[in-house]
């Protein structure tokens, strides 16, 4: 959308940092708060330099209270600000759940539009960094179930910046999950191979300036005829990797926004391919993959040649040393693809 000037190779952290900086420069109501986000610039460095540039009134550290972080963000939004709180790890978002579910998500509805909560909660999620069960979780399925919240998950630097700017400018509360495994480079699930840095990836060419990617629009990142792979975040790269390795002509759809979902793109693809696999790192039971499978079979039933498969994390906590046995990587996807193609 609109002017895309000078580009520069950025990793995801740099792209997110740029999104925050650019958005703050354009709108003085935007404030950034969270644990260690101020002087230090965040444990992942996503807010680096922002306090020095935009001042302590707009970028500041908080007490270690996720409940308080979201609670004060809602109050700041009531005043007229546009807060962008960071929750240091998605695993630590639960103490804030009441403020998110009962407050931020409900405010517009219960006040019939008198009050709104245009806040964007940034939080790193997902595993693959040996973080054990409390630095690896993917709790998006809790948020997608809550009426009134939007859920956005980028899979590359270009999208991360454009989606984050859209999320911040959106007038509804958005949970913006950042797949921390791919902050520094795309990851196809082959944990035993060297990491490719973003620099080599086309989606790492990020405009320096302002641009938006609309919420609610998926991207077909690989067109294909054989089967539809629905994914987001890190799993996009696993899907693309398996497409290449297996040579199966799959269509890979990066959902980018889970709520509101781009149902049109999904339906069009499954109608064409007749086969579908949904992917996520989160535990399987009740994950967002269940919703995707339910929707696809509801809406494309008569086009389906095989049941919709789910390739997901197991229904276990994310284990530390066994994390590659938990992670739904190429082995699991390849097998599922086989089943779906035969089904």
């Amino acid at each position: 959308m609109s002017e895309e000037p000078e580009t520069r190779a950025m990793n995801m952290i740099q792209a997110i940092n740029s999104a925050l900086d650019i958005a703050m420069g354009r709108d003085s109501e935007i404030v950034v708060l969270g644990e260690d986000v101020g002087f230090f610039g965040g444990v992942f460095k996503a807010t680096e330099g922002l306090q020095a540039k935009h001042g302590k009134n707009r970028v500041f550290d908080t007490p270690i209270s996720e409940c308080g972080i979201i609670g004060v963000a809602v109050g700041m939004a009531t005043y007229g600000l546009r807060p962008v709180p960071e929750i240091q790890f998605a695993d630590y978002i639960y103490p804030a759940l009441d403020q998110l579910v009962s407050e931020a998500a409900r405010l517009r509805y219960r006040s019939a539009g008198e009050y709104t909560a245009p806040i964007t909660v940034r939080t790193p999620f997902g595993g693959g960094i040996f973080g054990g069960q409390t630095h690896s979780q993917s709790p998006e399925g809790i948020f997608t179930h809550v009426a009134g919240l939007k859920t956005v998950i980028p899979s590359n630097p270009y999208d991360a910046k454009g989606l984050l700017i859209s999320a911040i400018e959106d007038n509804d509360p958005v949970i913006f999950f950042e797949p921390k495994r791919i902050y520094n480079g795309p990851f196809d699930g082959h944990y035993d191979r060297p990491v490719t840095p973003w620099a080599k990836h086309p989606q790492a060419q990020v405009p320096e300036g302002y641009y938006r990617i609309p919420l609610g629009k998926a991207a077909v990142v690989r067109a294909g005829e054989a089967a539809t792979l629905l994914c987001y975040g890190t799993m996009v790269h696993v899907a693309l990797g398996v497409a290449e390795e297996t040579g199966v002509d799959v269509e890979v759809i990066d959902l980018r926004t889970l709520v509101p979902l781009d149902i049109e793109t999904i339906e069009a693809s499954v109608r064409k391919t007749g086969r579908c696999i949904v992917l996520h790192e989160a535990t399987r039971t009740g994950g967002f993959g269940a919703e995707l499978a339910a929707l696809v079979q509801e809406r494309c039933f008569y086009s389906l040649e095989a049941p919709v498969e789910r390739v997901t994390g197991w229904d276990t906590p994310y284990p530390h040393s066994l994390e590659w046995a938990y992670f739904p990587g190429p082995v699991r996807l390849t097998q599922a693809l086989k089943r779906v193609m035969e089904g």
Partner: protein, 423 residues
């Protein structure tokens, strides 16, 4: 442990489970309660450091004495017009409560909550705040809206979920929202408004504005984590906020001991955060006014937040769903040592020669008629069980700013299904 020691001869441990003084049927005697003298508590400068205020939370700030005279340094010295306005607002709050309680009993709505006996805590605060200070109330601060002259007809329509309800019948009765009155949308979830108020105050401060924020919770609700978040953030950022705790002694069936009142006062929570804490006679509107004004001045002068405990009594049931005779002595209300806030302000005005029984009676009559008339007008717009007053499709609006496809589809599905079913 490195080196286990011999067993001690200490007595076995015992769990202390609090028990209120009086249960149903018990004779009530509050003699052991020390009210202190009206006028006895010193009033520190509003710029005083919090360290120097550490004894305040244990005293009870009282202005009106038993003869209705205003005493001591906290006497706000209000003129008679202001006093009469406050009296009227309290009386209107009470009349409104009476009527809406009856309306619920008559089946006109699903639920109601009175604030009887606690009117001073919100009416007094509203008079001491500036009109554009932002209020984050709990569900028992109808007095704020009334003291800000918000139309009671609008409140009634909300209670009836009728066609005049600006909230489109979405919220339970009394869960008002009134942006134009600086009154935040009430939540059913206890204490969530507390950190929100702090956030508002932080935003106002960050912007160099002069508006402050105030919030209210019941003493029972102070146990929620949100209370702690609010106090912590308020202390850290010296937010210009007034955090009110309405200690009306009861939280549904649980007495204040289950929120910690056996061990200390709620005002003393402030000491733990290094912020100012006041404890006022919540049935003495002059004390409430004075404490609120002190806290507001302190906040406006960038001296930080104040926690105010309003010591009062919930004279009626928790809500229309509650029967307090099941868990507390019916005598408590009559023997409450701090009296009734309306009666006490009335006595004060009479003592000043600015009021009399006849005028009071006339006011009560006028207000009852006013409430009745407004009630009729509101009822003309429907009551809850009259049938639905809002178009069905409004249910799918305001979830997001723009309606996404799934809600659009669901809205259409509902309409199609009702049509198919012939309704």
């Amino acid at each position: 442990m490195a080196d286990p020691r011999a067993p001690s001869n200490l007595p076995p441990l015992a769990l202390h489970v609090p028990e209120p003084q009086f249960r149903p049927g018990d004779a009530v005697d509050f003699a052991s309660f020390d009210r202190g003298e009206a006028g006895a508590v010193a009033r520190p400068d509003t710029a005083e450091k919090a360290d120097a205020l550490r004894t305040l939370p244990y005293a009870l700030i009282r202005v009106l004495d038993d003869e209705g005279k205003a005493q001591g340094p906290w006497n706000p010295r209000l003129d008679a017009d202001r006093l009469r306005a406050m009296l009227r607002h309290m009386a209107l709050t009470r009349a409104f409560d009476e009527r809406m309680y009856r309306a619920q009993r008559q089946g006109k709505t699903s639920f109601y909550m009175k604030c009887t006996g606690e009117e001073a805590t919100s009416v007094g605060a509203a008079h001491a705040l500036d009109h554009d200070d932002m209020c984050f109330p709990s569900y028992r601060q109808q007095g704020l809206l009334i003291a800000r002259d918000w139309p009671i007809g609008d409140m009634m329509c909300q209670i009836y979920s009728n066609s005049g309800d600006r909230l489109k019948g979405r919220q339970m009765p009394i869960m008002y929202s009134a942006r134009d009155a600086g009154f935040f949308s009430i939540s059913g979830n206890l204490a969530t408004q507390y950190p929100q108020a702090v956030g508002f105050a932080m935003a106002s401060a960050a912007k160099g504005d002069s508006r402050i924020a105030a919030s209210w919770v019941g003493e029972g609700s102070t146990a929620e984590g949100d209370f702690h978040s609010a106090c912590t953030f308020a202390s850290v950022y010296r937010a210009p906020v007034i955090l009110n705790v309405i200690n009306n002694q009861w939280a549904i069936s649980s007495f204040s001991g289950f929120a910690g009142a056996e061990a200390t006062t709620f005002a003393a929570r402030a000491i733990g955060y290094g912020i100012a804490g006041l404890r006022v006679d919540g049935n003495d509107i002059l004390a409430v006014y004075a404490a609120t004004l002190w806290a507001a001045e302190r906040a406006r002068g960038n001296h930080g937040p104040t926690l105010i405990e309003h010591f009062t009594y919930r004279a009626e049931g928790h809500s229309t769903s509650d029967d307090p005779s099941k868990y507390r002595s019916a005598e408590e209300r009559g023997k409450w040592p701090l009296g009734d806030p309306v009666a006490r302000l009335k006595q004060h005005l009479i003592a000043l020669g600015e009021w009399d029984d006849a005028r009071h009676e006339a006011m009560d009559k006028e207000l009852a008629e006013y409430v009745r008339d407004e009630g009729r007008k509101a009822e003309a717009l429907g009551t809850l069980h009259d049938g639905l007053s809002q178009p069905f499709t409004t249910m799918f609006e305001d979830i997001f700013e723009e309606q996404p496809w799934h809600l659009k589809e669901q809205s259409e599905q509902m309409q199609a299904e009702r049509k198919a079913a012939g309704i």
